[in-house]
Symmetry: C3
Subunit: 167 residues, 3 copies
């Protein structure tokens, strides 16, 4: 990367300013990761991973870069939400309307399974979020939490990878 001091300017519509800019340093970028093992109840349980991801950042001493939180299962999703009981219940309620547990699921018929709804909900939500890290802190908003939602219809043990890339 060259010319690193000339950060992108511009005054497009809706833009009112920039709060902070990174001062590039000479520290090398490194890859580092941690795996979390979660015991979940399933049925849409929402598990707040923000503090655990921040501890991985702290432990690595990373200052600036990316933190990807990825769940390695096809019946869980990762997103951000305020993570209070109301928001969590509301997210599950609209997903129950969109992909109801008791609907006919071709996955269940073909595989003698019971969690077709969980597969559909997880594919919609997606398995990961990538959050910038600046000055050693995840840049989530005040009430914005990184969460894993386990849609499966039974308690499970889950693996979440917290992957860091930064200096």
């Amino acid at each position: 990367m060259v010319g690193a001091g000339r950060l992108g300017g511009g005054d497009g519509p809706g833009r009112v300013g920039r709060a902070r800019q990174t001062t590039p340093t000479l520290r090398p970028v490194r890859a580092q990761a941690d795996e979390l093992s979660l015991s979940t109840r399933g049925d849409g349980e929402v598990i707040d991973l923000t503090e655990r991801a921040q501890r991985v950042v702290d432990g690595a001493g990373m200052r600036d870069g990316l933190c990807t939180v990825f769940v390695a299962h096809s019946t869980c999703g990762v997103t951000t939400i305020e993570c209070e009981p109301g928001c969590n219940a509301d997210l599950n309620a609209i997903l129950e309307e969109l992909a109801p547990r008791d609907r006919r699921w071709e996955h269940n018929e073909r595989n003698a399974d019971t969690n077709g709804h969980a597969h559909a909900r997880a594919a919609l939500l997606g398995p990961s979020v990538t959050v910038p890290v600046r000055d050693g802190r995840l840049t989530v908003g005040t009430w914005q939490r990184i969460v894993c939602v386990d849609f499966d219809d039974r308690p499970r043990t889950r693996t979440v990878v917290v992957q860091l890339l930064g200096d």
Copy 2:
């Protein structure tokens, strides 16, 4: 990374070729970021951030790597869309059907709030997209735009982080 000249081959189903490959260089990978401050109207306003993200790439002189566009609020989402008035209205219309503003929202009841629908829509859409950068350009398609959608029910000032990692 070793053996960087041997890019992945393969001829799986549906694959007809590769358009371009990166020639690895000796430039070091660096982390760099910019924060955008947006004045939004809320109510599903769709704000095109593509040019602003490209200006951050240009300003940093980044050639190849990743650009993550992340909104640091739990009632906004980031995705890609063609970003013409029809597509933007359609996206909001189906989200109004899925998560209608006037539905009963447990978030509103518990917190004496009015934006429960915004939380649900934002959690579904997700807070970020990560777009590869090649030869100094975001690899978005011709009509594909990186957008922030503000679902809140009032005008707000929003922070978007454009985080680069690349050489």
Copy 3:
């Protein structure tokens, strides 16, 4: 990144342990990419890209880092799913209920087009997933596959970028 040996600890609720930790090495982080060209049938075809992405990782000799799979079109999405015929049909079925092809689409009316539903579905699913790579392997679960879903209403040729950042 300093203090890389002190990985984040903690004993938050639901946490039962960590399976593996990265041992930081002195190999430099590099950016490398490959572009895949796909011939798709459209209409919700689900194309498994996991093996092709793994081949890009293998060819680059990357050990630890991030792999972003990004589709450069506004009528396709990328997510993870079990990718058996039942799950794939179920995902398309709930998207047909949420964003039916024969609904009134403002995109179609404004542009004399026919794929308004494809734009809405793609914006909801999102254009990319970012998957950690550890010890040279994508960290997807046993039945979790990285897929591109082409929602357009006709066969198309599609560009997917597999972007690596790691050591």
